[in-house]
Structure formats: structure tokens, C-alpha cells
């Protein structure tokens, strides 16, 4: 039904274009040489098409967003009272999903009660009605727009300006999509987190030393409340991120120094694409690499030295994440170094400094803000990196700083808490959103800090 509606709106818009274009074109031809029209006929057509298409599409979108919840609410009212009595939110959800499954034509295990089959029929009927209503509702403003816009078209009508104003609005809306996305992230994380904090106090979440969400899976276990203290999870995140940065920052920075200051242009032409390729490898590949290659190799090597290492230790995850970060840090440091004016380099070389002295005493201090902002971005990436740790780090939260032990991270917890789980109101699911909020805020702080440094730095050399 949605497809049909969209097609209908599209057709109507096309018709609107023709409806606006034709009279304008006629007027233009009739004027023969003189400037009878203010705007080219194309703009008249576009003007009408915009008046047809945009209101209709907006209406369809709003309709689609509202339809599901509204129908569900109405559906619940048709159900017999005793069917709903004493049901929790979650159980109502399950009931609704049963009705939906049935309405979609799939079979349910066992024989559902009669009120469920009835509700499914009602649902089907209502959906049909809603679909037609949407079609009619979409076409009505379209037709209104069509005639209204057509009425306004006249030879002196400033169609081009009008169309450009509409386009301005559309483009602004696209640009504002970025704000909407941020807003969406904040709102969705914030509200789900609020629901979580209604069940688990904020202080326990922030300062609790134990993270044992798996116990709370079983609601019937009164004793097993589950523990939601994020301290060990966050420590694990920081531990793995720190290992990765310790590994990646020197290698990335020295690579950049070599590439910018020492390497011949031919060497650069070979190495840069290699680093870019390294940067483009999906993190799931790094995760697999960690599990299959690095972890056994490192374990065997450490075993040879008489040290035992947990199979999914922080060290392995950190090292592999470091490999992932090398090209990132290298390319950002590369940019920062290359942005240092040539004059400073010449000034130092001209005084008889060696390259190393120039780099250490002039270039690095001058590029430091850029490099710092790159490292901050890298830290933000390390904290938010998911697949490597999901595959290579642990699931159980240990409060430890020993890199040879298994720790878990914020992102691992988010993924493990949410995979294969749709219920939106168990503390376990909601905890994932609370962790997501923390993750978002921390990375936001790092990103903004990095951006501020870059801006100030840019001013310095402009």
C-alpha cells in the first residue's frame, strides 16, 4: 500500500509539472521573441510539482510513523477486558506481536485463543482501511496544492524565485539532518536511559564496582537483582584503549615523520595507499585476525616465557586495535606535519640543524596541536570501537588493570546485551542504552575537544 501511495504521489507530481509547464510554454511561444514570461516554463512546472509532492510526502511520512502505534492502541481496546487483566507491559507486547504474526499470515505454535485470531482479523481489516485512507489523505493535499499552484501561475509570476526558495528549504532540511541525527541519538539514548535509571539508581550505575547483568535475565529470581555498576566495564574500556594507543601512537607518529620528512616521493607513493588500505579494512576483519592469528601466537610466545595469558586478554584486543589505529594516527599526524609552513623547515635547516633536530625542536612543537587532536580522535575511536573487542575481549567484567587478563568493554556489553533481544523494558536491555549514553558523551567530549584544538591550530597558520 505504501508503495502504491508513493507511486500515486509521484505520478501526481509529474502531472503537476506538466500542468504548470504547458501553459507557461504556450505563453512563451505566443510571445515570440518578446519576454512575456518572467521565468522559464521549467520553473513553472517545478513550482506546481513541488506544491503537489512535498505536502503529500510529508503527510505520508507522518502517517506511516503514527499508524502503527495508533492501530495497536485501538486494537488493545477491542480486546476483552479479562484478556488484559494483570498483564505487564512486556506481556502486552508479546500479545501484540502474536496478533501481528497471525495477521501476517504465519502460524503460531499451538492454538491461539479466539480473541487473538479475532484481533488479527480486525488488524488486517484496519490495516487495509488505513492504507486506503493514507492514499486518499496523501492525494487530497496534493490535488489542493495542484490547483492552488496552478492558479498562481501567470506570465509575470516569479516562478524561479519561488522554486529556488523551496529548494533552499529542502537543502536546509538536508543539512539539518545532521542536527536531527544528533538529536535522535541524544533523545533515544536519554529516554531509554531514564527508564533504566528508574530501575537502577544512577549512583549505583556510575560508582558500582560490580557488573553482572546476566543474572537479571530471569525476572523470577528475586535474589538475583543483577549488578549494574559500570566501573569495571569502563576500566576495561580504558585499559584496552590505553594499550592500543600506547602501541599505535609511536608507530603512527614515526611513520608520519618518516613519510613527510625523510621518504622520497616514490616511497610515499607506494606506502600511502598501503596505509589507506590498512585504514579501510573493516573492524570485523581485525577481530577475526585477533582471534585466529594474534591471540594464539601471543599466547604461545608468552607461554614460552613462562607467562600465562587469558585467551581473550586485554592485551590481544588492545594490540589489534592498535594495528587498526596506526593508519588513522599516521594520516592525521601526516596532515599536521605537512601543514607546518615550509619556511620553518627552511629556517631550521638553514641554521645547520639536521633533519632530526628540525623535527624534534621545530616541527613537532609546531604540529603538536594537530597531532594531539588526532590522538584524541584516535582515543575516541578506540573507546567506541566495537567489533574487535566483541570478538577478542571478554564478556565477564573484571576489575583489573592486568593486560593479560580478560576484561570487558562498554561496547562489548552493549552488543551482548542487545543481540537477539527485543524486549525494551528489561533492565538488561535498558542498561545497554545507559552504556550507550555514557559512550556517546565520552566520545562527544573527546571529539569536541579535538575539534577545538584543530580550530585554534588552524587560526595559528592562516
Amino acid at each position: 500500500m505504501t508503495t502504491i501511495t508513493m507511486l500515486a504521489v509521484l505520478l501526481l507530481a509529474l502531472f503537476g509539472y506538466w500542468f504548470g509547464y504547458r501553459p507557461a510554454r504556450k505563453a512563451e511561444l505566443a510571445a515570440a521573441g518578446g519576454r512575456a514570461l518572467h521565468s522559464r516554463p521549467v520553473y513553472h512546472g517545478l513550482y506546481v510539482a513541488a506544491w503537489v509532492g512535498i505536502p503529500s510526502l510529508l503527510l505520508v511520512l507522518v502517517w506511516l510513523l503514527a499508524q502503527g502505534p495508533v492501530i495497536d492502541r485501538l486494537l488493545l481496546q477491542t480486546l476483552p477486558e479479562q484478556a488484559l487483566a494483570g498483564l505487564s507491559d512486556a506481556q502486552i507486547r508479546v500479545l501484540l506481536s502474536k496478533i501481528h504474526t497471525l495477521a501476517a499470515g504465519h502460524a503460531l505454535p499451538g492454538t491461539p485463543p479466539e480473541y487473538v485470531t479475532q484481533a488479527a482479523d480486525t488488524l488486517k481489516r484496519w490495516r487495509m482501511i488505513a492504507g486506503w485512507a493514507m492514499l486518499a489523505g496523501a492525494l487530497a493535499p496534493g490535488l489542493m496544492g495542484l490547483f492552488w499552484a496552478r492558479l498562481r501561475i501567470a506570465p509575470q509570476f516569479r516562478a524561479r524565485q519561488r522554486v529556488e526558495r523551496i529548494l533552499d528549504g529542502l537543502m536546509l532540511a538536508c543539512a539539518a539532518l545532521a542536527i536531527l541525527t544528533t538529536l535522535g541519538i541524544i533523545v533515544s539514548l536519554f529516554f531509554e536511559s531514564l527508564r533504566f535509571f528508574a530501575k537502577v539508581p544512577l549512583t549505583e550505575f556510575l560508582f558500582g564496582p560490580r557488573w553482572e547483568p546476566q543474572i537479571a535475565m530471569r525476572a523470577d529470581q528475586v535474589a538475583g537483582q543483577g549488578a549494574f555498576g559500570m566501573i569495571p566495564v569502563f576500566t576495561g574500556t580504558l585499559l584496552i584503549s590505553a594499550i592500543s594507543l600506547l602501541f599505535a601512537v609511536p608507530i603512527g607518529l614515526f611513520s608520519a615523520i618518516y613519510l613527510v620528512e625523510y621518504a622520497s616521493s616514490r616511497f610515499r607513493a607506494v606506502v600511502k595507499p598501503v596505509l589507506e588500505f590498512l585504514a579501510g579494512i573493516p573492524t570485523v576483519v581485525y577481530g577475526f585476525f585477533a582471534v585466529v592469528t594474534i591471540a594464539p601466537a601471543l599466547k604461545a610466545w608468552l607461554h614460552g616465557l613462562g607467562i600465562s595469558m587469558a585467551p581473550n586478554s586485554a592485551l590481544v584486543a588492545g594490540l589489534v586495535m592498535g594495528i587498526m589505529l596506526i593508519p588513522f594516527i599516521s594520516s592525521l599526524s601526516d596532515d599536521a606535519l605537512a601543514a607546518v609552513p615550509m619556511a620553518l623547515r627552511e629556517g631550521s635547516i638553514g641554521l645547520g640543524a639536521t633533519k632530526a633536530e628540525t623535527i624534534r625542536k621545530v616541527l613537532l612543537p609546531a604540529a603538536l596541536p594537530g597531532i594531539m587532536s588526532g590522538i584524541l580522535l584516535a582515543a575516541s575511536r578506540a573507546i567506541g570501537e566495537t567489533m574487535i573487542v566483541v570478538m577478542a575481549a571478554g564478556i565477564i567484567a573484571h576489575l583489573t588493570l592486568n593486560p593479560l587478563e580478560a576484561v570487558t568493554t562498554v561496547t562489548v556489553q552493549i552488543v551482548t546485551l542487545l543481540i537477539g533481544d527485543t524486549a525494551f523494558d528489561s533492565p538488561k536491555t535498558l542498561a545497554a542504552f545507559a552504556l550507550g549514553l555514557v559512550l556517546f558523551l565520552v566520545t562527544l567530549a573527546l571529539n569536541v575537544l579535538s575539534m577545538m584544538i584543530t580550530r585554534r591550530y588552524r587560526e595559528q597558520y592562516d
Binding site: C174, A178, S188, L189, L259, V291, I383, M451
Partner: protein
């Protein structure tokens, strides 16, 4: 110092302590250079280890071993009215033991039958259903070997494990008698190794030897299609607005900060957004390319906007002035003159954004786009699906040994796609004009 300002003291640069110092400075310089080279070689070496280990474990999966048997398609077993109910397992069994007449013991027979893949009866059934005229005949056909024997043929697993006195028979191969039967098949020339078309034509399966990437590739394609349809026009529109039309005020500044920040927000957060907003609130169907594409388009949007803005700002202002000077409106200027010049840079950015979206895993896991899809035919934009990276994740998590090779092969396929996309982007960048970002 005592020197009067007028006199000019010359330094004896050849004094021994000066020369020692000079040598030390040059040593420090060389040290720095070697450190840099070492860093690059470390990075390149790690990349080499990564690629080589993937190749080593993944390349065997591009081949698949088959056993050639003669199948007697007796109508009684085939059940021509409804072939789905035919006794295909029995047909395969008969064919196998016709080739191995010396295997008599029933218990041994059960073990020996595991040489052939559990998927073999179904594959044979599908083949005969496509060629119904074969019913009643005896045909020679190739069916899959089971995973352990497939690996044994490729030399991935040995017949014996352990060393010296500890050496014992590899339990995965079922025992010496089973292996003897297998070697007989091999001596008879019934075992063959071919290019593994299944890897690209089959969808997922619980059996490693049967599992393929078709479902994941189709899923990824559908998802990227959605991503592209949303993020490409919206990204260009936003970038054109910000770069060409927007007044420089706090609002546009705020938009810009937002875009830069979104480019660095962890992908898993986008997954949470998709889960809460698209699935939880808007009620869109879970696990589908539609939702996956929408989430990824939000992630790709900043990349495209940033690349497009860079491409636009690289267009020399003289072009705009020329167009405005002959009376074109701002839109005509942008549409007819600026955008065409900037297009290669925009496309480069879009391809790189798409490549990144193709490799993105975490948000897809959160919205459940790691469904088990055993059949490609039912796939659609709003049907549950899987994608290449999530398929890799699922396979990497599978306990069967055969999936290690399959996972590596899947990674190689994914990297192949990414390499192709990135090469196109680099080619575009070099072919059309200067570096724009």
C-alpha cells in the same frame, strides 16, 4: 664573555670535540630515520601478516572437493509425484556403498557414510528436480564431501595428530577403516577438487561445505542501495547548501560542528539509535536491509557531506564568477558549472563512504541484521537479511572448523569488494583533476 661586540670570533669547526658532536648529531638523525622506517615497516609487516594469514586460511575455501558416484534413480525411491518426499538419503547411501562393496559392517557403514556431506541428498534432489527426465536412469553425478574430508583432501587437516608415541589417529576422520574406504574412493579417481562456485551461489547453511555468501552479498547490496539512495542526494544537498548558499551564522556553524562530530560518533551508537528510533518507535521491521540502510545512511552522510564540501571548495571561484557574470542564478551556477567540476571529488567521497558502510558491522548486529538466510529467493528490502560483515561475524563464531576457512574466504571476498571500490575512488581522484581532500 669578554669579546667586545665589534670583534668577530670565528669558530674552529674542525676542533675534535666539535667533530665528535657533529657525529653524534648525525647519529641521532640516522636513528630518527631508522625509527621512522621501522615504524612503517612494522605497519606494513602487520598488514602483510594479516593478509597472508587470511590468504593461507581462506584460499582453500575457494576450492571444494566432491565425490563422483553413480546414482540409481529408481522411481520407487525418487517418488516422481512428489520428489520432496523421495528417499534421497537412501539413494546416496546406495550409490556410496556400490562404490565401496567391501564395506559390510553396519556400524562401519554408518561411519563411512559421513564421508559424504549431509547436504548431498538435498543437492541431488534439487538436481533431479531440475532434470526430471533422469528419473529411472542411473546417472553419474558429483556430490559434496563432508567438511572433515574436504579439509583432509586439501591438506588442511592431517590423518594423524600428535607426535611420536603420542601420535594418534585424527578423530575427526572417523577412524582408520573409514579413512581406508576414503582412500579407496580416491584411488578409484572418484574424489575431485574444483573451484567452489557454492561459495558465491549458495546462501548460508549450518554445514560449512554447503555454506555460501550469496545471501550476504545480496543483503549487503540491498542495504547499500538504501544507503546510497538516502545519503547521496541528501549529502550533496546539505554540502551544497553549507558551502554555496548558507550564511555564516551560528546556526550553520552548529550544523558544521554536528557534522564533524557525527563523523566520529562510534558506530555502535548509531546502532542504538536505529534500534530505539527506527525499530522501537517507528516500528519498522527488524533485521531488514531497509533499517540497516537507513542507519548506515545516517553514518555515511557526514562522510559524503565533508567530501562534497571539500570538492566544492576546490572549484576555483572564477568559474562561479564567470557564470554569475553572465546572469545565471545561484542555482544555475551551482547546477550547471560548479557541481559538474566537483563531481569526481564528490563521487570519490561517496564511494569511500559506501566502502566504509559495506564494512560496518556493529550497528547491523544491534538491529539484528545477522539473520540466518538459507535461501536467497525470498530476500527483499523489508525482509530479514544478513550482510557480508555480519555473515563473517556469524561464521567466525561458529564452532565448526570448516567455518574458519569459510570466514577467511568471506573476508577475502569482502576485502576484494572494498579494494575494488577504493581503487575506483583513487582512480577517479587521479583521473579527474587534483586532489580534493
Amino acid at each position: 664573555m669578554t669579546e667586545p661586540p665589534d670583534s668577530h670570533e670565528r669558530i674552529d669547526w674542525t676542533a675534535p670535540q666539535r667533530l665528535t658532536r657533529l657525529r653524534r648529531r648525525h647519529r641521532a638523525n640516522r636513528r630518527m630515520q631508522w625509527l621512522g622506517l621501522g615504524a612503517i615497516l612494522t605497519a606494513a609487516g602487520l598488514l602483510a601478516v594479516l593478509v597472508l594469514s587470511l590468504l593461507a586460511s581462506g584460499l582453500p575455501a575457494f576450492q571444494q572437493s566432491y565425490v563422483t558416484l553413480s546414482f540409481d534413480l529408481k522411481p520407487a525411491l525418487v517418488n516422481p509425484q512428489d520428489m520432496r518426499r523421495g528417499k534421497w538419503r537412501k539413494i546416496v547411501r546406495n550409490a556410496l556403498f556400490a562404490a565401496l562393496p567391501e564395506v559390510k559392517d553396519r556400524r562401519l557403514k554408518r561411519k563411512v557414510f559421513r564421508i559424504v556431506s549431509r547436504a548431498a541428498p538435498y543437492n541431488l534432489r534439487d538436481y533431479v528436480m531440475k532434470h526430471p527426465e533422469l528419473v529411472g536412469k542411473t546417472i553419474t553425478h558429483q556430490v559434496l564431501l563432508s567438511d572433515p574430508f574436504d579439509q583432509y583432501v586439501k591438506g588442511v587437516i592431517p590423518a594423524h595428530i600428535g607426535a611420536g608415541a603420542q601420535q594418534r589417529f585424527n578423530p575427526r576422520l572417523g577412524g582408520p577403516e573409514v579413512l581406508a574406504a576414503f582412500e579407496k574412493l580416491r584411488r578409484d579417481g572418484r574424489i575431485s577438487l574444483r573451484f567452489n562456485r557454492n561459495l558465491f551461489l549458495n546462501a548460508d547453511s549450518r554445514l560449512p561445505e554447503q555454506a555460501g555468501l550469496a545471501g550476504a552479498i545480496v543483503g549487503s547490496f540491498l542495504m547499500l542501495l538504501v544507503t546510497f539512495i538516502i545519503s547521496f542526494p541528501a549529502g550533496i544537498a546539505a554540502a551544497v547548501y553549507l558551502e554555496e548558499f548558507a550564511p555564516k551564522n551560528r546556526f550553520t556553524d552548529f550544523i558544521e560542528v554536528n557534522i564533524n562530530n557525527l563523523a566520529a560518533v562510534p558506530s555502535v551508537v548509531f546502532g542504538l539509535l536505529g534500534l530505539a528510533l527506527f525499530i522501537g518507535y517507528a516500528g519498522l521491521p527488524r533485521s531488514t536491509p531497509l533499517v540497516g540502510g537507513m542507519v548506515l545512511s545516517l553514518m555515511t552522510l557526514p562522510t559524503i557531506i565533508i567530501a562534497t564540501r571539500a570538492a566544492l571548495s576546490a572549484v576555483p571561484p572564477s568559474i562561479r564568477e564567470a557564470a554569475l557574470g553572465i546572469g545565471a542564478s545561484r542555482y544555475q551556477t551551482v547546477l550547471h558549472h560548479v557541481l559538474p567540476v566537483a563531481m569526481p571529488g564528490i563521487l570519490t567521497g561517496a564511494i569511500i563512504g559506501m566502502a566504509r558502510a559495506l564494512g560496518e558491522t556493529a550497528p547491523l548486529l544491534l538491529i539484528g541484521m545477522n539473520a540466518f538466510i538459507p535461501d536467497v529467493s525470498g530476500m527483499g528490502i523489508s525482509e530479514p537479511a544478513t550482510a557480508l560483515p555480519t555473515q563473517i561475524y556469524s561464521w567466525a563464531d561458529s564452532p565448526e572448523r570448516g567455518f574458519v576457512a569459510r570466514t577467511s574466504a568471506a573476508i577475502l571476498v569482502l576485502l576484494g569488494f572494498l579494494l575494488a571500490m577504493n581503487s575506483t575512488a583513487i582512480w577517479l581522484r587521479q583521473r579527474y583533476g587534483r586532489r580534493t581532500w
